[in-house]
Symmetry: C2
Subunit: 756 residues, 2 copies
């Protein structure tokens, strides 16, 4: 029998050297609040006790040795906020801490079905007092502003003094940047200032304000103790911290329970009375309803999630655990309010500054779209809400029309300080447009297309006409861009970019035609709003049709861009121990060679598969695989998917194996700084698009399932056009079943079948 | 009769709005000390009173939003140093200043034959006291550490108190950066700290030290008063300043003379006794020999300079003045100690941080080489002295062999913070190699080639083998470089770069062969020192011979690089009022179009003219002229030269006209921040290479003179192979004459003639 926890992740013996890593793996979140899995009690094991609110950031100035027009003046980064988790315990004046004393039993577990983190430890103080310490923590999906900690202390061999101190600490800082953008940002530690710190109505309260982004945060704590012992309690406070102290005359074997309710609420500009009352209401309600109520609600929410989402893998427990771990963390990380999104490290760390990238559209959104389309809708709505910022950005870049989405952002402003791998990655416009269409196709949400989608498509399409041009042969060329592969920059006619641009232009034209015919009033409103002429819309279709795509007739290969094959191949032997290359080589040396950080042409062949024939894909795969380093975590999942499509099943499984347990096994050795959300969703894609061969083309669902040798069977569910379809793949056949909704025609191995 | 001062520049009426500009135009220098033409007396007309020591800089940190391997951590910039010029005068307690009172007569003049700056003003104080103020200033070419100010005050209508205060001020700052790299740097004002400020032996003395570059500066002042009036004198001082005060009981019409000797001496690390004594010796000698001695020596030095250098233009006084102004400022700006060079703004301003660029080799060095070859030798020696730094830089960039010269530097460290228009401009290696060969060709200084030149050539050649590659056809390609034109960046096979690289490789091979055959001992020493194999040297010649140069057979044009013609043409109408473009557009938008900041291919066609036939040059000129903005001051002179070569005489004169009076007429409206040294030398090139059609090819001097319609005749001298040759071009013929040295065979209009 396997010892792997299929519905959770367990630490069975305390490993202090893994404390920073486990802070990430045991992180909890609900898409609004995220908190690292640090212990309640003060512990110095080199970690970083962070709590984050999605979309809550401060600005910092960007500096450049030489600065040019259109460079962003400032960036913003997600802030570490008021610490509400901390609870210290003193046993006969000796502070409970795993740094000292003796640990007798220890188990920590995050439960994917319950959505809670528990810890249980029997600990003997240096003086010999033995206690059983048990804690539970949840960040509520039911009430997104609420986090609850529950601790229970049982004195096992003594009567004596137990002091419990429950803190709300406003003196928090981000990690200082260490010249590695994957870890943190150059903040000074004074970005979040405590405005007010007080005790009111048996609650602690800290109101903070950011230094320059004009965002505020109110954080409340209420503690509820339950014990049969005698105790007294009081508060202590200073400028930046409140603590609620309980002095207990403890008796052997009598339990002491403390429930701690922590409420976070961020706001813009000034805190008003209504908002304040609302926050008070949340904490009062929680205090009344108690922990068990929220624990039950948490389970109900998560049950629903798993019903839609779970993938059952028979015969490979490590993978089973890994994929659930990933899906659970994706749920914990994703903003569901259309004002926030899902960042590169979710809400588990400060790396990449909490920014949202194209990762959302191309890697993460498919997971939500085909399991939880309501969440997907909020992510697409987020991009619509950014459209004005994107129009502004296009103007800053001196374009006369259209919108240019930021390469990295939280609030819509471009935060990339290195344009060759930032602003030059115009493909983000195409990625967002692609996803708008995929969303509408998978949900039949034509209302979204009419109200918002068409506007995104048209405004992004306009930008291609700004940066591309028709050459003397009438071909549409796009110069000086960077594709997904950041090891090749500022090139002409990157195949991925050009094809995604063509797709964007064509779909913008189609959307305009749809509105014109079917929704003339909305069409009129839209063209007035964005001031567009019909000739411009016609031009979208011309540019799409005439889009130039370089091809090497001699090699029978697609070059990644016009000049890709003119460059020499990279010396992989010489650089074997120097990955990721960009941390070891000057960009020019990398750009100068045929070497890819990640899937680029191969990604185009996945996303726009219909454009390429199978033989072509095989040749290209063979060529590009040899020169791809996978230095980006966005790479192996795409190679896995395409390996499956091309029947390279061993490779497919190997690449999948690299990605499904990246974080849980800390394969990149940097999970302590946060999870890799795109890779997590990539693992889901590797199963659904890869092994199961799912594609959605022209509104139809297609499958071409393969069962890896390592598995006995697998089963998953897909939400599609208001249905839930269950797919079960075994050695001999594949079964499709409708769990919810009307029957549907799908394709299995190119054969049309009706699923009921 | 023309009112233009043919041997100087004169300000006849004080124009306070031109004060900052005139600080540049009236700047004095001797290649070591440079001082702006600010008044002696405190004046607030918005200028910047700067004094600079060539090669005297401090470091500052470079910051990047995203930083990668091989990016420089720090830059350095030339410092404004101790102010020794300042002298205040009080007339019956009213401070002499042109800010107030009445100016009756005024004339200021810089004399190109004497090398001194004079000012004469009759001034009436607000109370009605009238004085004649006369000053002379020189920065000595004879004693490079010495600057002298002489002032004479004559009370014209009163007896009374005159107080003269002569300062040495250590509290000096650079201009704060204003987001324009052409003006200044982001210093904090504390880069130069006063260590010691004292009065000793009737001299003021300030010793300063840089904050981080470990350079020191000692500055002494000694004042010598001569007057028949009664006076007393004393010193005042504070932490950062010394002043020598003279209280004079002045009598009407009796002159008061003050001579002020200021000595500057910079040093590395610590000041030692020897050095200190040396500096004391200089000031004591000056105090003994007196101003008139140095004035005479100044004239002798400058007479020699003009004998070698002057260009006589009959019929165009504005040009006559302009070209002399330029040549005089070039002499004032150039370092002649092999440890310093000539910066973009000479020693007249802080723009471009006092850095030395490729401007030296390709624009400025020809002027010195063919007029003052001893100075040229020191400039080439400077590059040899930088070779170790260049080898270090190559290693920093992860190259295994060779040397990479910094794009911009003072001390040899790369200071460019924007690699697409910095490090990517590898052509600087080729530019330096080109100049090494031109130097040896023009001087027959084979000893230099053996001792230093060959090492430069071979180490720079090695770098081309590091960044270039042989493709499958055996062609040598160089990818991801930026040519001279900074409006097109990170391209493959820039024609200029590839041809200069081929030239470098070929000459490195030739130099190695020369040493091997003629100087075997030195050859052995060299190959041991730099650890090179013969096969590597052979490979230089193979790469040179197989160098790929793109050519468009259809257009019959050379593209600037592989993909230049794939881009659309720039919209010149839309951007008419937005020059320089890089201050108005994001780099990507500029890179994306066919638009040139400056001569690039056209520069190659000038420097390596033998590679291209005349018809080709005509076609290319016609094409590139239309798309070149000349946003760089390095451009019009090259277009002028090539226009002359191609018989486009009107264009040639127009372009020349744009460049010969750029600074004296403030055509770029930024001369207040300093002169444009490369453009100044470009004007010389426009005459010598342009109108006179001089070329040096295969060791032979060739001319093809043309007399512009605007001129009656012109005459110039050229130093070549230990001769001075005078060339006089009139309407009907050209005369050549040897002024110094043996007869020589030259070519005039392709005909070989013997000059005696």
């Amino acid at each position: 029998m396997s010892s792997i926890n299929l519905w959770g992740y367990t630490e069975k013996n305390f490993q202090k050297e893994k404390y920073p890593l486990n802070e990430t793996l045991f992180a909890l979140g609900n898409g609004y609040i995220g908190t690292r899995g640090s212990f309640e009690e003060k512990s110095d094991f080199g970690g970083h006790d962070g709590t984050f609110i999605n979309g809550f950031y401060d600005y910092y100035d960007l500096s450049y040795g030489e600065k040019y027009n259109g460079y962003p003046d400032r960036s913003h980064a997600m802030l570490n906020v008021t610490n509400g988790k901390k609870i210290d315990i003193y046993i006969n004046n000796e502070r409970f801490s795993l740094e000292k004393g003796t640990i007798k039993d220890y188990v920590r577990e995050i439960d994917f079905k319950k959505g809670i983190l528990t810890r249980r430890v029997t600990w003997i103080s240096e003086k010999g007092d033995e206690i059983l310490y048990e804690s539970e923590r949840l960040v509520s999906f039911y009430e997104k502003h609420l986090m609850i900690s529950k601790i229970r202390i049982t004195p096992l061999n003594f009567d004596g003094d137990i002091r419990v101190v429950s803190y709300l600490e406003g003196d928090v800082k981000n990690i200082t940047k260490e010249n590695d953008p994957r870890i943190g940002v150059e903040f000074h530690g004074d970005e979040l200032k405590v405005l007010e710190c007080k005790i009111d109505n048996n609650r602690g309260e800290i109101i903070s304000k950011t230094k320059s982004s004009n965002l505020g945060l109110i954080c409340l704590m209420a503690n509820n103790i339950k014990c049969d012992d005698q105790y007294d309690s009081f508060y202590e406070q200073n400028d930046k911290s409140v603590s609620h102290v309980f002095n207990i005359k403890a008796e052997k074997n009598k339990v002491i329970d403390l429930e701690k309710y922590i409420v976070y609420k961020s706001y813009k500009n000034e805190l008003n009375d209504n908002l304040y009352s609302e926050v008070i209401g949340i904490v009062e309600e929680a205090f009344t309803k108690k922990y068990d109520f929220y624990k039950q609600k948490q389970k109900e929410f998560i049950d629903d999630f798993w019903f839609n989402t779970d993938i059952l893998i028979d015969g490979d427990d490590a993978t089973q655990q890994g994929i659930r771990f990933n899906m659970f963390h994706l749920l914990q990380s994703v903003g569901r309010d259309s004002l926030t999104n899902i960042s590169a490290k979710g809400l588990t760390g400060e790396g990449y500054e909490g920014h949202y990238f194209w990762d959302t559209e191309i890697y993460i959104l498919p997971f939500f779209l085909y399991t939880n389309p309501d969440i997907a809708k909020q992510l697409v709505n987020y991009r619509y809400n950014l459209l004005d910022s994107a129009r502004k950005r296009a103007k800053e870049m001196q374009y006369k029309k259209g919108a240019l989405y930021p390469w990295r952002t939280i609030n819509g402003e471009e935060c990339s300080a290195y344009f060759p791998a930032g602003t030059a990655q115009y493909h983000i416009n195409g990625d967002i447009a692609y996803t708008v269409c995929k969303y509408v196709e998978a949900t039949n949400d034509e209302e979204f297309m009419v109200e918002k989608g068409a506007e995104i498509l048209i405004e992004t399409a306009r930008l291609w006409l700004e940066i591309g041009h028709f050459n003397s042969k009438g071909e549409f060329h796009i110069c000086c861009v960077t594709g997904p592969d950041e090891y090749t920059a500022i090139v002409n006619n990157n195949v991925y970019t050009n094809l995604m641009a063509a797709n964007n232009l064509h779909n913008a034209y189609k959307a305009a035609m749809l509105l014109q015919k079917k929704y003339p009033a909305q069409y009129k409103k839209l063209i007035d709003k964005i001031n567009i002429e019909e000739s411009e819309i016609d031009n979208f279709e011309v540019a799409a049709n005439e889009m130039y795509v370089p091809y090497d007739e001699h090699r029978k290969l697609y070059p990644q861009d016009d000049s890709f094959f003119d460059k020499p191949k990279w010396d992989f032997i010489d650089s074997e121990d120097k990955h990721p290359l960009l941390m070891h080589y000057h960009p020019l040396n990398i750009y100068r060679a045929q070497v890819c950080k990640q899937a680029d042409l191969i990604l185009a062949e996945f996303l726009l598969g219909g454009y390429f024939d199978r033989e072509q894909k095989i040749r290209d795969y063979d060529y590009y695989e040899k020169i791809t380093t996978h230095d980006s975590s966005l790479s192996t999942c795409i190679f896995s998917i395409m390996a499956n499509e091309l029947g390279l099943y061993d490779k497919a499984y190997d690449y999948f194996g690299d990605s499904v347990r990246t974080d849980i096994d800390n394969l990149h050795n940097n999970t302590s700084a946060g999870i890799h959300t795109a890779n997590m969703a990539g693992a889901w894609m590797s199963i659904i698009y890869g092994f199961a061969g799912m594609r959605v083309e022209d509104g139809a669902l297609r499958f071409s399932p393969h069962l890896p040798n390592q598995w006995n069977s697998y089963r998953f569910r897909v939400s599609f056009q208001r249905r839930i379809i269950e797919v079960c793949v075994t050695k001999n056949n594949t079964e499709f079943k409708i769990l919810h909704g009307e029957p549907i025609m799908i394709y299995n191995e190119e054969k049309s079948i009706k699923v009921v």
